[in-house]
C-alpha cells in the first residue's frame, strides 16, 4: 500500500491536490462494463428533467404561504444548485457493484463522457444553472442581498465544472484518502 505503488502521492501540506491518472488495472476495471452511473445523462429525457424539476421547485415554493416572489426564486435557485452540487460534484464512486470500485475516486461530473470536456451534455448542464441564475436575479428585481446569495450559489456549481478543475480536490479539513 505504499504511495508509489498506488501512484497517489501527496504532500500533506498542500490544500489542492489533483487525482492522478488511473493504473492499467483500474482502467481495465472501468472498461469492464459501461458506466451506467454516468451514461444515463446522455439518454432521452435526461435534459428535460432539469427544466421539469426547476418548474416543480418553483411551484412548490410558490404554494408555500408567506413566501414572496423574490424569496421563492432564490429558494428555487439555491435548491437546484445544492442538489446538482451534491449529485455531480460531492458524491464519488458508483452506487452499484459494476466496476469493482474502479470509479471510487471520481465524482459523477468526472465520470460523464469518460472525462471528456465540452461535450453537449456538459454544455447543457453548465448552461442550465447560469440561465436559472440570470432569471432569478431578474425576478428578484436586482436586490443586492438576493443577488449575492444567488451569485455564490451559481459559482459553487460553475467552478467545479470548469475543465481546469477536472480531478481537482480541495482539502481544507479532511485528510485525503490514500
Amino acid at each position: 500500500m505504499s504511495d508509489a505503488a498506488h501512484g497517489r502521492r501527496r504532500r500533506s501540506s498542500s490544500l489542492i491536490y489533483t487525482e492522478p491518472p488511473e493504473t492499467i488495472e483500474q482502467q481495465s476495471d472501468q472498461a469492464a462494463l459501461p458506466n451506467l452511473n454516468a451514461s444515463w445523462v446522455n439518454s432521452k429525457g435526461a435534459w428535460t428533467i432539469h427544466v421539469v424539476l426547476i418548474i416543480a421547485l418553483k411551484i412548490f415554493y410558490d404554494t408555500m404561504p408567506g413566501v414572496s416572489q423574490e424569496t421563492s426564486w432564490t429558494l428555487t435557485n439555491i435548491s437546484y444548485m445544492a442538489g446538482s452540487y451534491l449529485m455531480f460534484h460531492w458524491v464519488q464512486g458508483i452506487p452499484f457493484e459494476f466496476n469493482a470500485g474502479a470509479y471510487d475516486n471520481l465524482n459523477m461530473w468526472e465520470q460523464i463522457d469518460n472525462g471528456d470536456q465540452y461535450t453537449p451534455t456538459k454544455k447543457f448542464l453548465l448552461t442550465v444553472p447560469i440561465v436559472l441564475f440570470l432569471m432569478s436575479t431578474h425576478y428578484t428585481h436586482y436586490d443586492l442581498t438576493y443577488f449575492i446569495i444567488n451569485c455564490l450559489a451559481v459559482l459553487a456549481v460553475v467552478i467545479p465544472k470548469l475543465p481546469s478543475s477536472h480531478r481537482m480536490r480541495v482539502g481544507l479539513f479532511t485528510v485525503p484518502e490514500e
Binding site: 500500500m1 488495472e25 470500485g101 471528456d116 436575479t137 431578474h138 436586482y142
Partner: protein, 506 residues
C-alpha cells in the same frame, strides 16, 4: 469635408443598424431586459455580462478528451507499415531445456489410478504422486454408491446452483460438511481451485485490506489479485511479523474511513507443507479486529483426531474462523470445494460469489461421494492413525538422507523435500530443477513414482506477486501401501537422492 462625410456615414449606419435590430423578433424583449437589468448598478451588470460571455465561450468550445493526450494522427499507409513491422511476442514463452526433457519423460498412467498404477510403458509402479491419502479411490463402497447416484441423477447438474443446478443431494452434502466441521452453515462449489479464488473477492473489494502469508498457494494469489484489495504480506508463518504488519495497518488507517479487513492464510501450506499457527492468528485477529479466511484445502480430512482439519488439530473452535474454505478434491478424493461459516457468510456467497453464481453445480455423484466419505472418516478414525504411521515410516527413511530436508509438518501426508545447501552451494545453485528431476526419474526407474513441485510465478505489472518457492519434490503417502512398501519406497527415494548427489559431487 472629410470629417463631416464620415460623421454622416456613421450616423446613417448607426440608424440603419438600429432599425434592422428592431426588425429582429424578440429584440424589444432583449432591450427591455437590458434596460431594466442595468438599474444604475454597473458592477452587478458586469458580473452578469461576464457570466453570460463565459457561457457563450463554453458553448462554442470544441470537445476534447482528457484521457488520450497527444495521440499521433497516422495515415492509412503509416498504419499498414507499422502493422507490417510488428512481430507479436509469443503468447507463452518457449519451453526451457528442463521442461523439454520433462515432457519427453513424463509418465502416463494407463487404467485407473490407485496406490499401484500401470504406466504406458508397461511397468507397474507404486504411486506416491496422488492425493489419495486414505485410498478412497479404490473403495468399492464409494464406487457402488457413485454408480447408483449416476443412474438416478445423471452426470452433471447442467446449471448454476441458483437456476436449476441445486439438487437435494447438494443440500444434504452442505449439511453434512457443516455438521462434520461443527460450523453453522456451509456452501459447496463445483471446483476446488475456484473456491478460494472466488470466496476472497466475494467479501473483499477495492479499498479493503488483506493481510496474507507470503507463501499462500496459487489459487489464493489469484483470489487476492481479482479482489483488487490492498494487499499486505507477512513473512511465512512469522507471527511476530504478522503482528508488526497489523500494527502498521492500524497506524496507517487511523484517521481514514473504516474498511473491511481480512487475514488470509492456509492450514497446511501447498508450497511448503508446514502448518499454520492458528491459535496465535486467532489471538491477533481478535485483537486487531480482522476476519480470517483460512484455506484448508490440504488439511481438511487429514489433520486432527478425526480429520476435521487444522482447527481440531490445534484445539481451536472452528467458529472462530469466519470463512473456512476447503477442498473435496484432495483428501476426500471426490471433487469440488466448500466454504463453511456463519449463515450470513454463506448466504452472501450464494448471490455474490462468482464461482457459485456462474458455474454449473457439482455433479450429484460427487456430492454423494463426499457425504459418504465423511461418514467413512467419522466411522473409522483408525485410517488417520494408519496414515500417520505410514508418514512416520517414510520420514524415518528419508531423515537418514544427508542431502535433503523435509519442510512438511509431521502430520502432513504430502512430504516436501528441498535440497540442503551446505557444502554444495555452487553446484546446486541454478541447477536445482534439473537435479530434482534426476531424482524423480531415478526413483521412477526403481518403481516409485514421486513428483517434482511445479510452480507458476505470477507478476503484477512488472513486479513479482507472491514469493518464489524453493524448488522441491514431494511424495504423497497413502494407506493404500503397507508399512513395508512405504519403508521400501522411502529407502528407494533416499538412494535415488544419494546417487544423483554423488554424481553431482564428482
Amino acid at each position: 469635408m472629410d470629417l463631416h462625410d464620415a460623421y454622416v456615414l456613421l450616423n446613417w449606419s448607426a440608424g440603419e443598424l438600429s432599425t434592422r435590430f428592431q426588425r429582429v423578433p424578440g429584440s424589444q424583449i432583449l432591450l427591455r431586459y437590458i434596460k431594466s437589468s442595468y438599474q444604475n448598478d454597473p458592477v452587478r451588470s458586469v458580473v452578469e455580462l461576464c457570466l453570460f460571455l463565459f457561457a457563450v465561450r463554453y458553448l462554442l468550445a470544441p470537445r476534447y478528451s482528457t484521457t488520450q493526450k497527444g495521440a499521433v494522427e497516422l495515415t492509412e499507409d503509416e498504419i499498414d507499415e507499422l502493422v507490417e513491422d510488428w512481430t507479436p511476442e509469443p503468447l507463452v514463452p518457449g519451453l526451457t531445456e528442463v521442461e523439454q526433457a520433462e515432457n519427453e519423460k513424463r509418465p502416463v498412467i494407463v487404467g485407473p489410478t490407485g496406490p499401484k498404477v500401470k504406466l504406458s510403458n508397461g511397468r507397474t509402479v507404486n504411486n506416491f504422486a496422488s492425493y489419495n491419502f486414505f485410498n478412497f479411490v479404490s473403495n468399492e463402497l464409494l464406487k457402488d454408491r457413485a454408480v447408483q447416484v449416476l443412474r438416478n441423477y445423471g452426470v452433471g447438474a447442467c446449471g448454476p446452483p441458483n437456476f436449476y443446478g441445486t439438487q437435494d443431494v447438494h443440500m444434504d452434502t452442505e449439511r453434512d460438511i457443516a455438521k462434520f466441521l461443527g460450523m453453522p452453515a456451509c456452501i459447496i462449489y463445483a471446483q476446488a481451485f475456484s473456491t478460494i479464488s472466488s470466496v476472497i473477492p466475494a467479501f473483499s473489494k477495492r479499498g479493503d485490506i488483506i493481510v496474507a502469508d507470503k507463501a499462500v498457494n496459487f489459487a489464493i494469489q489469484k483470489g487476492l489479485q481479482i479482489s483488487r484489495s490492498t494487499i499486505r504480506w507477512y513473512e511465512h508463518n512469522d507471527m511476530e511479523d504478522l503482528g508488526r504488519v497489523l500494527e502498521q495497518v492500524k497506524r496507517d488507517m487511523a484517521r481514514k474511513p473504516l474498511t473491511r479487513r481480512f487475514i488470509v492464510t492456509e492450514g497446511l501450506f501447498e508450497n511448503t507443507g508446514d502448518i499454520v499457527d492458528l491459535p496465535a492468528i486467532i489471538e491477533l485477529k481478535q485483537r486487531y479486529k480482522y476476519r480470517l479466511i483460512l484455506d484448508e484445502s490440504y488439511s481438511f480430512g487429514v489433520l486432527g483426531r478425526t480429520g476435521r482439519g487444522v482447527t481440531e488439530h490445534q484445539n481451536v473452535d472452528p467458529q472462530s474462523v469466519e470463512m473456512l474454505v476447503g477442498s473435496l478434491a484432495h483428501g476426500i478424493c471426490s471433487g469440488g470445494g466448500f466454504c463453511a461459516g456463519s449463515p450470513e457468510v454463506v448466504d452472501h456467497q450464494r448471490i455474490s460469489s462468482s464461482a457459485y453464481v456462474f458455474s454449473a453445480a457439482l455433479p450429484a455423484m460427487l456430492a454423494v461421494t463426499t457425504s459418504e466419505t465423511l461418514k467413512l472418516l467419522e466411522g473409522n478414525p483408525q485410517v488417520l492413525t494408519a496414515l500417520r504411521e505410514n508418514i512416520k515410516a517414510f520420514r524415518n527413511q528419508m531423515d537418514r538422507c544427508e542431502y535433503v530436508e523435509c519442510t512438511s509438518s509431521l502430520d502432513n501426508p504430502v512430504c516436501m523435500f528441498i535440497l540442503k545447501r551446505d557444502g554444495l552451494e555452487g553446484r546446486i545453485f541454478g541447477n536445482e530443477e534439473k537435479i530434482l528431476m534426476d531424482i524423480v526419474d531415478e526413483a521412477l526407474a526403481n518403481s516409485v513414482m514421486i513428483s517434482r513441485v511445479k510452480h507458476i510465478y505470477e507478476t503484477q505489472g512488472t513486479k513479482p506477486f507472491g514469493w518464489r518457492c524453493v524448488p522441491s519434490f514431494k511424495a504423497c503417502i497413502t494407506i493404500g501401501h503397507t508399512k513395508k512398501e512405504v519403508e521400501k519406497a522411502g529407502s528407494v527415494v533416499r538412494q535415488a537422492v544419494g546417487k544423483v548427489m554423488a554424481r553431482l559431487k564428482k
